[in-house]
Amino acid sequence: MQRIGVFVCHCGSNIAATVDVKKVAEMALLEPGVVHAEDYQYMCSEAGQARIQAAIKEKNLTGIVVCSCSPRMHENTFRSAAEKAGLNPYMVEIANIREHCSWIHKDMEEATKKAVILARAAIAKVNLNAPLKPGESLVTKRALVIGGGIAGIQTAIDIADAGYEVDIVEKTPSIGGRMSQLDKTFPTLDCSACILTPKMVEAAAHEKITIYTYSEVEAVSGFVGDFTVDIRKKARYVDSDKCTGCGVCQEKCPSKKSLSEFNRGLNTRSAIYTPFAQAIPNVPVIDTDACIKMKTGKCGICEKVCQAGAIDYQQKDEIVTQKYGAIVVATGFDTIKLDNYDEYAYNQSKDVITSLELERVMNAAGPTKGHLERLSDGKHPKEIVFIQCVGSRCADNRGKSYCSKICCMYTAKHAMLIRDKYPDVNVTVFYIDVRTPGKNFDEFYRRAVEDYGVNYIKGQVGKVIPQPDGKLLVQGADLLDNKQILKEADMVVLATAIEPNPDVRKIATMLTASIDTNNFLTESHAKLRPVESPTAGVFLSGVCQGPKDIPETVAQAGAAAVKAIGLLAKDKLLTNPCTAKSDQLLCNGCSTCANVCPYGAISYEDIEVNDHGIRETRRVAVVNSALCQGCGACTVTCPSGAMDLQGFSNRQIIAEVDAICR
């Protein structure tokens, strides 16, 4: 039987003016388990807390109820007061007789009656409370960043600068990501490579950063502070330690017909290749699908020409297992496939390209060496049409429902750059809306229209029809003038929607991080915890969480880093003790609870049980209290009632219900 003390707060006149606090204390004394009740002006004051502590000691209280303001205000105050007096903080319950009673009722008798019932419910609950102790788990002081684009690089540098080890895992042969494919960046028009490359070098040179390129996360286990990750380092067939990055192998490689991923398939590369000149690491990989030696066993030219003797055809994939305290996902994006958009003739004409392809065309290191030309015939275009929102803001399910956010601005950038370099080229942009909510964004767009004479037409393009003469007939509508437009263009550029990297689904599953219907990773709270995944210890950086431009990505990368640093700075984690717990003798092992757990906190183990003399091996649910956040979804879904939530147990809630209804 508990020995419960009840403390009724006047809160000055906030409570006492409407609730007869003496009566509440008097009635509380009649409840089972209550051995002490008193009222006081301000329970939360030093003096009030001292009274509580004195009563705990003098009367050997095993639990207390404070009838006061909302637990959201002072639950922690009273918990720590109780703890200082030697009482387990989870033996404290609050009856909210201010916000839920005195402040909303005028009649003293009525408010007092209600306060008595609220106190009774809290007493009924505390009668069933059990001391709870936060668990502790050690933190591995190392972070993993999945994805080596600008988001991943920035997060890694920030974490490393704080003094923690960071590993970057990048799927492709080089870090750099999408940003390395861009030519210029809005709204300042500075060269993408010029600002990215130093970051890449910084990351590579940082003593705290280890970069695993051409590698993928294979398996993740563990939980916040203590993840264990298997990283598959795919065989490069080039020894990174020996390679000097001279590039002779690429020059001499006879197999040069593979489409360049980096240049979006607009030109070709050799079978042994680095994706681009500034690649980090500057160590090539052998594409086994294209390599003649790999396919036929004959050739071996690269091996012969390599002075460093770095070529190793026998190299095997390698699994690196590493422990981490925090994981940041920075898997980025790709443009959507345009198979559903036949009307824009993307697959029919080489001169219909995506914006990202245009970036490569405009880039001096790109397939046209930076000359604006039609990819079909190499001719200089005179008339370019940009089509906005291709696959974005799509009402049907051909494309994406969301706004890709960056297209308005990069189209303005493209238009401006073209008009600047080639004043003879006419640029027309078909748009639904122009969205420019960013620092200097609208000014930038207005310059495109006003200073550079870009022709913006509000309206959608219905069809792009390749003409026999190689021109492209664009059928569109001008909604402002309410007329149909037919325009002959030499090139059409599609502002293609972006979507999360398709691999993110696999990664999210491994991390048990939740993912939305568009494959964006879900943040823990849309407003208040935008860089944290609901899975503790997993943070989100860049476009994997939602469409973003570069400055936003970098800002979020920094934010994610700070969150990770905050975690790594701790030696131990205290875990919320109000977690779910499975009664192994009742558990059916049916897996229903794991299905609804948003944190992946429930796993199953085959354990030996002794159920009243029946010894058998049973599959039972085990809750990892470091991962469990205490929502209780599992407790309701459990058919046998094996799963219960500590601090909000079935019996406790039922006791409150009973107390209120009696």
């Binding site: 089972p32 009243h612 029946i614 009973d658 209804c661 009696r662």
Partner: protein, 343 residues
């Protein structure tokens, strides 16, 4: 010997119910069970067996024992009043009556169960002969004559007339109360009916069931038989057999929290349930085989061993009809018979 025409029965029931409570077989949504008579009740005397036996007239499925009320921090205990009004149970069958005899052996011996004793004292039983016994009946095995049942009043339904014969003082008293509705009758037709019923009973498939060898002397031999391990397998551990049985007498005592106190009540329990006789340390029977064995050992071995050979089965056949897995006491007895040579 009296008689009354079937169409006048409702007048008879009304007359009895005017003075005291009357329980009789009533059809509720297609199922016949004993229930208190009310005006317009769909009384069904043609269905041979009520789903539940009428034992709840004397030993209800659940009944309050006492109530505890909280007043401030004090407790007030209010015992439940004992039955102090007379009542009539009409339409029980010979086997049901025998079932009450079995219950008497449990509840009326020292320490007497006062709740049960009060009901027995105030209850008058009107028994009916079984006009058309069924293939699931085996009362004959227990020496019961369903053609000539014995209780306070015995009745026979013959060609639309109910023949009525008081056999005890209670029966005489009840007869006196409704005498105005009864007319004199001779016993010829009743004797013919008895013969006819007995002839049918002879033909019933279970009537030749032998209980030879079932008594207290064979306790360990039966208990340790490997047959149980085979027999129990289909058992679902439900309580159907127990709850339809006229002789099962186990109950559990529980408290119900009313918010302002506690009601202590007892309710039927079933030895088939996994939490039967659950104690602080657990159960003394941990497997369904053990629980299954308990039920039949109790009926056919332990009970007769303690009650001068009286089995606590009366052959009503309700478990035969209702077991979801088609298990029953007859199959158990037969299984032992078949394996007899091997044991």
């Amino acid at each position: 010997m009296y008689k009354i025409a079937k169409e006048n029965l409702s007048a008879l029931f009304q007359a009895i119910a005017g003075e005291q409570e009357l329980y009789l077989p009533v059809n509720n949504n297609g199922q016949v069970n004993f229930a208190a008579w009310t005006e317009g009740a769909d009384v069904d005397l043609d269905t041979l067996k009520s789903v539940k036996s009428p034992k709840d007239a004397f030993f209800p499925q659940s009944e309050n024992l006492y109530t505890v009320k909280t007043e401030d921090k004090k407790l007030k205990v209010e015992p439940e009043a004992l039955k102090d009004q007379d009542f009539v149970v009409f339409g029980m069958k010979a086997c049901d009556v025998k079932g009450i005899e079995v219950l008497d052996k449990v509840f009326l011996v020292d320490p007497v169960d006062t709740f049960y004793a009060a009901r027995r004292k105030h209850g008058t039983i009107v028994v009916m002969a079984c006009h058309e016994p069924e293939e699931t009946c085996f009362c004959k095995v227990f020496g019961i004559d369903c053609a000539d049942p014995v209780a306070d009043v015995a009745t026979w339904m013959i060609d639309g007339e109910l023949y009525w014969k008081a056999l005890t003082e209670k029966g005489e008293a009840l007869t006196a109360k409704v005498a105005g509705l009864l007319t004199d009758a001779d016993e010829t037709k009743v004797e013919e009916e008895k013969k006819a019923i007995r002839a049918i009973v002879e033909k019933l498939p279970y009537s030749d069931l032998s209980l030879e060898g079932w008594n207290g002397d064979v306790l360990l031999e039966k208990f340790n038989s490997p047959i149980w391990e085979k027999l129990y397998k289909p058992c679902l551990a439900c309580g159907t057999c127990t709850f339809v049985c006229p002789t099962c007498q186990c109950y559990d005592i529980k408290d119900y929290n009313t918010g302002s106190g506690v009601q202590r009540y007892r309710c039927w329990d079933s030895c088939m349930y996994s939490d039967f006789t659950m104690m602080a340390h657990g159960n003394n029977r941990t497997s369904q085989m053990q629980r299954f064995r308990q039920r039949f050992m109790h009926k056919l071995v332990y009970f007769p061993a303690n009650n001068d050979g009286m089995y606590s089965c009366v052959g009503c056949g309700r478990c035969v009809e209702k077991c979801p897995s088609a298990l029953n006491i007859v199959k158990v007895v037969k299984a032992f018979e078949e394996q007899g040579g091997e044991n």
